[in-house]
């Protein structure tokens, strides 16, 4: 019974569905004389699948039903901020003036786009307390790389060329050390203390004249606001280092505090987290970077600015400016413009008060689930959390049950699991970020499910070990995937 059902679920690949001679689109015949094709430079075959439009639409529609997504339920991935993505964003991003503008059009013909980008830069500056912003980076990690290059360039410009070390807390996202090493820097890990703060003694010991800076996520990946933040920043500044803020967790700080006011020198934003642009199954993101006054000259080129002041009867002309000591271009064209339209729409609809409410309710929701789970799950660093918190997915009374099993069992209760096994400093970590867009009923159902699973772990552990049971697919053989390395529907000819 189960097996028959399972067979019917699997969707053939697009190549399985192909039948020679079909096509899903036809184009007009040429209205110009045909030119001679470059013989000797033509390809011999083009092994693409052949389907009609309806075949293609059904295939992807069928596939889509296998995806969990924000529109069908809570997506409590810690540090991912999987909030609801307003529908209006999708409409505004597709307005013809935005969607059908070529990136190299003369600036006079795209003033609407440039005003939008300029305004977004201004708003991000105001929200974060930084002096200047680039919109160019494509994602959070790309913003980090931009930031690391800026930090390095700043030191080099002062003749301070010995700085090669980046300090990174043990609770940091993996992108922080990876971005640093991509720029040839040595990564020095800084431990956390017993309350989940940065260990100040260790930080002090690591700080010397070879330090580029500190990359700090605040609130950190335990969901905690560092209680000695200003002191930590001071220590790094004293040795001549800069402090980079990983903006992944900015949702908790909107209208609550501005990283620039706290002494951060630069930070990236994740428009796809904080400002509601959809995650798209892994992208596109958008990772603008804000910097303090002294780093403004190092921003990637170009940034958007006023190139001709307006007069009484004339609007100012917006265009591109090149910062004086720019690290260069980090991406082609103008950044992920479609994401800027969405983020602009979102910020315009919130205003100052609305942004502060986002943070307040994100923090309320996280603390509420945390309170509901108290006593059922071990919660290391049990303080008031910000927008997320971390529990341990293990109990002495349920040996053999792991965080992974809890995550998979949650799927049977129709919830997406939290981030698991991160941060690395908590054993069997489950990192929960509900976001502000979930109501009390949803949060209660989620907490109820986790509490039920905690009981099941002790009474029927096999339910967890074999979960999920109710999803269209069961646990995967990941070893087979890595061993066989089938990465293509068809076997390409090896061309050696």
């Amino acid at each position: 019974m189960t097996e028959n059902l399972a067979v019917s679920i699997v969707e053939p690949t697009i190549y399985d569905l192909s039948s020679p001679g079909r096509t899903g689109v036809t184009f007009p015949a040429p209205d110009v004389p045909k030119a001679e094709l470059p013989q000797g430079l033509l390809r011999s075959d083009l092994p693409l699948p052949e389907l009609g439009e309806v075949d293609v639409v059904r295939h992807y529609t069928n596939l889509s039903t296998f995806n969990y997504n924000v529109d069908n339920g809570l997506y409590p991935l810690g540090s991912c901020t999987m909030k609801y993505n307003p529908k209006i964003n999708e409409d505004t991003a597709r307005l013809p003036g935005f969607a059908f503008a070529h990136p190299l059009q003369p600036v006079e013909t795209v003033q609407g786009n440039l005003v939008l980008m300029y305004q977004l830069q201004e708003w991000l500056k105001e929200i974060s307390g930084f002096a200047a912003v680039t919109l160019q980076p494509a994602a959070g990690a790309h913003g980090e790389l931009t930031g690391v290059l800026i930090m390095h360039a700043y030191h080099n410009s002062r003749g301070d060329i010995k700085r090669k070390k980046m300090l990174i807390p043990d609770s940091a996202h993996g992108t922080n050390p990876a971005s640093s090493s991509m720029s040839g820097l040595e990564v020095v890990q800084i431990p956390s203390d017993g309350r989940g703060n940065l260990d100040l003694a260790a930080l002090k010991a690591a700080c010397d004249e070879t330090v580029v800076g500190l990359m700090l996520t605040n609130p950190n990946t335990l969901g905690l606001f560092d209680e000695h933040l200003e002191e930590a920043i001071q220590i790094v500044h004293t040795c001549g280092g800069l402090v980079y803020g990983d903006g992944a967790n900015l949702n908790a700080l909107l209208g609550i505090i501005r990283p620039g006011d706290m002494g951060f020198d630069l930070m990236h934003f994740n428009l796809h987290k904080t400002f509601s642009t959809p995650h798209g199954g892994g992208g596109p993101g958008s990772g603008p970077v804000g910097v303090s006054e002294k780093l403004a000259d190092f921003l990637p080129s170009p940034i958007i600015g006023i190139v001709e002041e307006g007069q009484d009867d004339r609007l100012p002309l917006y265009g591109f400016l090149s910062p004086a000591k720019s690290i260069g271009r980090i991406k082609s064209f103008n950044g992920h413009f479609g994401m800027f339209v969405r983020a602009y729409t979102y910020i315009a609809m919130h205003g100052a008060e609305g942004l502060r409410e986002i943070a307040e309710y994100a923090v309320l929701n996280a603390n509420y689930i945390k309170a509901r789970l108290n006593g059922k799950y071990a919660i290391p660093y049990d303080r008031t959390c910000m927008h997320e918190f971390v529990v341990e997915g293990q109990w002495a009374a349920a040996p053999g049950v792991r965080a992974l099993d809890i995550a998979k069992r949650l799927m049977d209760y129709e919830f997406h699991p939290p981030t698991n096994y991160f941060p690395l400093i908590v054993h069997e970590a489950l990192m929960i970020e509900p976001t502000e867009t979930e109501n009390k009923a949803t949060l209660d159902a989620f907490a109820d499910a986790l509490i039920k699973i905690a009981e099941e772990a002790k009474t029927q552990p096999e339910l967890l070990k074999e979960a999920p049971h109710k999803t269209p697919f069961g646990r995967m053989d990941e070893v087979k995937a890595a061993r066989d390395l089938v990465l293509c529907c068809w076997l390409p000819e090896v061309n050696e």
Binding site: T13, N69, H102, G282, M349, A352
Partner: protein, 451 residues
Amino acid sequence: MTFIPHAPKERDAMLKTIGVKSLEDLFKDIPEKHRFPNLHLPKALTEMEAAAELGELALGNENIRTDLVCFLGAGAYNHYIPAAVDHILRRSEFSTAYTPYQPEISQGTLQATFEYQSLIAALTGMEVSNASHYDGATAVAEAVNMAFAQFRGKRTKVVLSPAVNPQYRAVVRTYTQDMGLSIEGDDPSAKLAPDPQTLIPLINDNTALVILQYPDFFGRIYDFTALVEAAHSQGALVCIAANPIALGLLKTPGEMGADIVAGEGQPLGIPLSYGGPYLGFFATRKKYIHKMAGRLVGETVDNRSQRAYVLTLTAREQHIKRERATSNICSNQGLMALAAAIYLALLGPQGLRQVAELCYHKAHYAAEKIAEVPGYSPGFATPFFHEFTIHCPKPVAEINAHLLEHGFLGGYDLGQDYPGLKDQMLLAVTEMNTKEEIDALVDVLAEVAHD
């Protein structure tokens, strides 16, 4: 307007459960002197007002659907996007899902990505493709990282053709500025020799990677086979940045022996959208897979013996390897890769070949007609695909201003990147341009030459 669904009564009950009196009480860890800043932002808009404001901003642009006829390319191209592409992209099952780290409930994204990888491998003539990069420029920059890692940092030279898109070259330089690499060949003031073989003397046993573009930035097409062989004889890898539409017609970089084929996937069903989000594609040979950046989907089975897909070889990636990862990339262009997959599935070999041929024929018609106009002449005599350069009788900016008055978005001014190509314009023609539009362009070019 906000998207917070709490009724006041529910909020109060939640605060009570937590054990605090107000929302403010949750923020006691925040230093008081900076707490609750007064943000100077415009008053919040309702959805209705926001729709109107954004509508106004969009009208502040001249778009290439209804306002301007586009003959501009230079790395981003105006192609027809079949309606079904966006209808599928708008499904929130795809657009609002996260990276498929939980394969049991993400098979839609995973299988679609697996198919994308297959389609890119087919198109480029390569063995494997990753799940995407940010854009063509960053995909090429990641090729440098890969080659550098392949030789464990022992080869420190990159030979970069000056005929590679100037923005790609700029991004490569930005990415690699702290890596201790030397980049050679990338001299825009050099004579842009008609023959790419002139790069061969630069390649030696310290060369990690040679970067070429196909068609090149000027639209020219060459068979790079001999150049690739010369690079291989020195042990160097070769990356060819390719236009995916051209690959519907032309010999693949894979056939020429390329080790990496990267490029801009925007032409595959992705709107111009003022520069992004686009799609960086990246394909290589299986033997280099452990040094490749980015996500990768592989086939497997689940515990019910169903064929299924998972992210694989994740030990290359930053969330596992941290500072020893092959790249820092995390978010990629998942939804844009889906767009490209849908586009290629819809067109199939017939449709893609048709688009490529239309581009080719129309561009050649335009080039021929323009060359007949007194004062204009072809920039290069080399075969080309759908872009070509023309010598102009006046500064390109002047000609473009005139074209704009007549509703044409003219070509790219090559003098801004290549001092030797002053007064030369790069024009792109696609299936979207009709014969009438081309003829009208030719008329205006003739007019401006006389003015």
